[in-house]
């Protein structure tokens, strides 16, 4: 029994309160304590992944109460992988200065950094818990934190957050109802226990209803087309750091729940054959990829373009799940990692541009490449990765998805993945072209622009370099971390 899973959560929750309290006194200390808490959690998460790779699963019983009565926390390959991604992106988000990340330094009394830590804690909790109801608790924790954080973006953000609140609560309620059905049928809330008690009940309509409710609930949270409607507004109006966390991690955590359902709680066969969940998710995702990409092309605002791009990118993850073969799932899981880095980098760049120039419409960005070469260099790396140009990371997740599609003889999916690369190229190269060609008219905002300060640039560059490194070492990640996860597939 190892307490590593709790050790990731504990600093986050503890420093959430410390940061909130300290923030009332001095904001700078809130910022610093948040960073310390996140760093501690990162150390724990990193250690957790290494221990899991060498020793296997790590379990922890909360309060010493054994399951199925107590709540259990599990670190296996999948949860350790997700936890590390969440906490790493969380740390980058926290060290990004609030003037750029939250549009302005939060007023005294608004525990912005406490809320961010709570958001990350909730996300980590969802991935490390081994109990179905405990997952709901953490789901609601992070959702409430995110609703509050989105409102920091201004008036339109408040409306967008409210809409997200309604839809998010519906999603959470669906999940809870589904878990309730499972509890009534099996008598347990513990994931491992349920996994053992469910197989005889696979034919039961109650279980089928439970699965349907959980999948739809998580589909809403994941912004899977056509349940994505809350996302464009929420992500465009939220402050950059919040949008970065939501787009890069929260969406993926919802996808994690579906994968966990498929691999651990139910047997994959159930999701593939008995109830055609993967087929439906696959086709819906294919539509989502095309829809998201096309809508992104139509956008004039940078962050809104990124928001629709997220709809398309998360649909890649859904497509990988829908393929239900090892390559497909590897592609989906790798894309969770890659997208986290790419999308957070892009949102932080959006924040940086807004901070330096006040601009947010793509048409106004002409010639910025010359003024901010390093930041725009990072943008180019992230954009090329989104399009799928090697050796950046994005190429490899698409590579595995294509291999999965060919193996499943699903040529439509392969065509969708490849065509979407070209669609993505349209909206990103349109921006690259604008950034790197100096316009004939001199817009004063662009003329006066300079490279943002190091505090803003360093997190962005870390992510951009990370994108290249992740691309080059992807084989290691796949062999050591992802292969054991997909070994559960038939």
């Amino acid at each position: 029994m190892s307490s590593l899973s709790i050790l990731i959560l504990a600093p986050l929750l503890l420093f959430c309160f410390i940061s909130a309290l300290v923030g009332i006194w001095r904001l700078r200390w809130a910022y610093a304590t948040a960073a310390i808490g996140m760093a501690l959690a990162l150390v724990a998460a990193g250690t957790g992944l290494f221990r899991v790779l060498s020793d296997g699963e790590l379990r922890y019983f909360l309060g010493g109460w054994p399951p199925p009565f107590g709540i259990e926390y599990v670190l296996d390959h999948l949860s350790a992988f997700m936890a590390l991604i969440i906490v790493f992106i969380g740390l980058i988000a926290v060290i990004y200065p609030p003037q750029a990340g939250l549009y302005h330094t939060p007023r005294r009394g608004i525990p912005a950094y406490g809320l961010i830590l709570l958001l990350i804690a909730g996300l980590v909790g969802v991935v490390v818990t081994g109990d179905l109801f405990n997952l709901f608790v953490f789901l609601e924790i992070y959702s409430l934190a995110s609703y509050a954080l989105i409102t920091l973006g201004g008036d339109k953000a408040v409306v967008a957050s409210f809409r997200y609140l309604i839809l998010g609560t519906i999603a959470g309620s669906f999940y809870l109802l589904g878990v309730g059905f499972i509890y009534f049928s099996t008598g347990t809330l513990n994931m491992a226990d349920a996994a053992q008690r469910l197989p005889p009940l696979y034919g039961s309509p109650t279980i089928m209803a439970a699965v349907a409710l959980i999948i739809v609930g998580m589909g809403i949270k994941m912004a899977l087309f056509p349940l994505h409607v809350w996302l464009p507004d929420a992500h465009s109006y939220a402050p950059p750091v919040v949008a970065a966390i939501l787009a890069a991690i929260q969406i993926e955590v919802a996808a994690y729940v579906i994968v966990r359902m498929m691999l651990t709680i139910f047997q994959p066969q159930y999701f593939i054959d008995i109830l055609p969940v993967t087929t439906i998710i696959g086709w819906v995702s294919a539509a989502g990829i095309i829809f998201g990409s096309v809508m992104a092309i139509a956008q004039k605002d940078f962050k809104r373009m990124l928001a629709y791009s997220t709809v398309a990118q998360v649909a890649y993850i859904g497509l990988g799940i829908g393929l239900a073969n090892p390559f497909g799932l590897i592609g989906a899981l790798l894309h969770i990692l890659n997208h986290a880095f790419m999308k957070s980098c892009l949102f932080l760049i959006a924040g940086g541009i807004r901070y330096q120039t006040g601009l947010h419409a793509i048409s106004q960005f002409a010639g910025l490449g010359r003024k901010m070469p390093l930041m725009m260099g990072a943008f180019t790396v992230a954009a090329l990765s989104m399009v799928g140009i090697p050796p950046m990371a994005g190429f490899f997740s698409k590579w595995y998805l294509v291999l999965g599609g060919i193996e499943a003889n699903n040529w439509a999916f392969v065509a969708v993945i490849l065509a979407s690369s070209l669609l993505t190229a349209v909206y990103f190269f349109r921006m690259i072209e604008k950034l790197f060609t100096t316009p004939s008219t001199n817009d004063s905002a662009v003329e006066q622009a300079t490279e943002p300060p190091a505090r803003i640039l360093v997190p962005i560059l870390i992510l951009a370099i990370g994108i290249i490194i992740l691309g080059l070492i992807n084989a290691l990640i796949v062999s050591y971390v992802l292969n054991p996860i997909v070994a559960l597939l038939p």
């Binding site: 050796p391 291999l403 070209l422």
Partner: protein
């Protein structure tokens, strides 16, 4: 074939990538910046040349870097085919860099640092393509080449350049997407993507799979090889500065396309399987059509670079047609033409650039009497034109001879006639320029003189080399022997 472990392939790829840092830093001191480009080019060529003796012995130099996908490694391997491409590209980069310096200074081009840095990355990618040991490594460098050449096409940032850049990306990225599909399909069929002379497809592969795979390769490599109807990006890309057109669109990018075909046909599908499937006949017919159509269109172009662009389209299909024929002579001709055409076409582009800078002419109709003022330039133009028309003693004759012989070997009289007809058309659209320059009466150009030595020396060198390679085809660097090695290993039904 013996494989020697060596760091040199990796160094050859990396030397210009490292140089990018040194090119970018001395932004304000052009001479320091340019000297880094020249040093990188010389170092790259020296590395590649040093690998030649080993390759000529029948061995190959290899280095496996690391696993880039479970079961597939990022790996480099220098064999006869790779070194043909590598040598020509790295040598011509030296000359192009000198020419570039003369050109961008003569035209006072803007954003010169971006220009030289992009060139360095492009050549890194080109070496990566030339020395790739498997299809995934090739694809990675192929895509990098597309992206790295984009800023060079876009360079002038005029509306035409921006449009040209967009069209360039649309065509090449679409080709790239089909290439990824081809790569994945190959992996699924064979379980491996390592290049092996004679092909890696399993013994009883379905004919429909071969045709599907060929179609994917056609839609990907065919775009960079400018096979019709996917050729349209090349004339539009002539909006780039002339040295870019010279090296990239006569030597690096387009030759990467035909090189890809050589690898796909010779080392993935295998010429025998390719021939049996019937896809070879289709490719040959398409290439033959491209040769003739492009030559006819070239006749009607007044803009000099456009005329040269269509000429390139035609000559690239010489190479494609050669690899599509199941004959060792055809392959030798095709591979020799990779080098010969590069040498001759780069001469023509260098001349076009010198004419543009010195005489400010872009169209053929403006060139009356220019030869009397710029005799060296137009003499070089003349030598290259003679070679492209396939007339001895310039090297173009040799590759054409083997291509025609190859066509006759497989009994395809039609293709032999295609080559000969194309030669006549080449003479028509190129030698007419020479005649106009030397013999047409005009007093438009007085006291003009040659362009700067930085431009004239490279074009003179490439012209003289074209002549020498035609007179002594069997001498250093033994391209003929290298081409024969490839043809033998590929046709011989297998081997390392």
């Amino acid at each position: 074939m013996e494989t020697v472990y060596s760091l040199k392939p990796l160094l050859a790829v990396l030397v210009s990538l490292v140089a990018v840092v040194f090119i970018v830093i001395p932004n304000q001191r052009p001479n320091v910046r340019e000297s880094w480009t020249i040093m990188a080019a010389l170092a790259k060529f020296a590395l590649v040349a040093s690998m030649l003796p080993i390759v000529l012995q029948g061995k190959s130099l290899a280095i496996t870097l690391f696993s880039i996908s479970p079961g597939i490694s990022l790996a480099l391997k220098v064999d006869s085919l790779g070194i043909i491409f590598g040598l020509s590209a790295s040598f011509l980069w030296i000359l192009t860099s000198l020419f570039s310096i003369g050109y961008v200074r003569g035209m006072s081009e803007h954003k010169q640092t971006r220009y030289f840095a992009s060139f360095a990355i492009c050549l890194s990618a080109t070496m990566g393509i030339a020395f790739a040991a498997n299809l995934l490594t090739l694809v990675i460098f192929y895509e990098i080449l597309t992206i790295a050449t984009y800023p060079l096409v876009l360079h002038k940032e005029t509306p035409e350049a921006i449009f040209g850049g967009r069209k360039y990306l649309v065509y090449l990225l679409t080709g790239g997407v089909f290439l990824i599909f081809a790569l994945a399909f190959t992996y699924q069929l064979s379980g491996t993507v390592d290049f092996k002379a004679g092909g890696i497809l399993p013994a009883h592969v379905a004919k429909s799979s071969v045709i599907m795979l060929f179609t994917l390769f056609l839609l990907s490599f065919g775009v960079k090889s400018a096979i019709m109807p996917m050729h349209s990006w090349l004339p539009t890309a002539m909006v780039a500065p002339t040295p870019v057109s010279a090296l990239l669109h006569a030597v690096a990018v387009v030759k990467a396309g035909v090189f890809g075909f050589a690898r796909a046909i010779g080392f993935i599908i295998g010429p025998a399987v390719f021939n049996e499937s019937g896809a070879a006949s289709f490719l040959a017919a398409l290439a033959a059509f491209t040769i003739l159509a492009a030559s006819v269109i070239a006749l009607r172009q007044d803009n000099l670079k456009a005329r040269l662009a269509y000429s390139t389209v035609g000559h690239l299909s010489y190479i494609v047609l050669g690899t599509a024929l199941f004959s060792p002579s055809a392959w030798i001709g095709a591979l020799l033409h990779i080098v010969n055409h590069a040498m001759m076409k780069i001469t023509l582009f260098f001349c076009a650039g010198a004419i543009h800078v010195k005489a400010h002419c872009e169209n053929v109709s403006e060139l009356n009497g220019l030869g009397r003022q710029m005799p060296i330039t137009m003499a070089a133009f003349a030598i290259a034109s003679v070679g492209l028309a396939g007339i001895p003693p310039v090297n173009g004759f040799i590759s054409k001879w083997y291509l025609v012989q190859g066509s006759l070997d497989v009994g395809q009289m039609a293709f032999a006639i295609t080559f000969l007809l194309s030669g006549l058309l080449n003479a028509g659209y190129l030698l007419s320029i020479v005649a106009r320059a030397f013999f047409a009466p005009s007093d438009k150009f007085t006291k003009l003189g040659e362009a700067s030595p930085l431009m004239v020396v490279p074009l003179a060198i490439t012209a003289v080399l074209s002549l020498l390679m035609g007179l002594f085809p069997d001498r250093v660097p033994y391209f003929f022997q290298l081409a024969s090695n490839v043809a033998q290993s590929v046709m011989g039904g297998g081997g390392p």
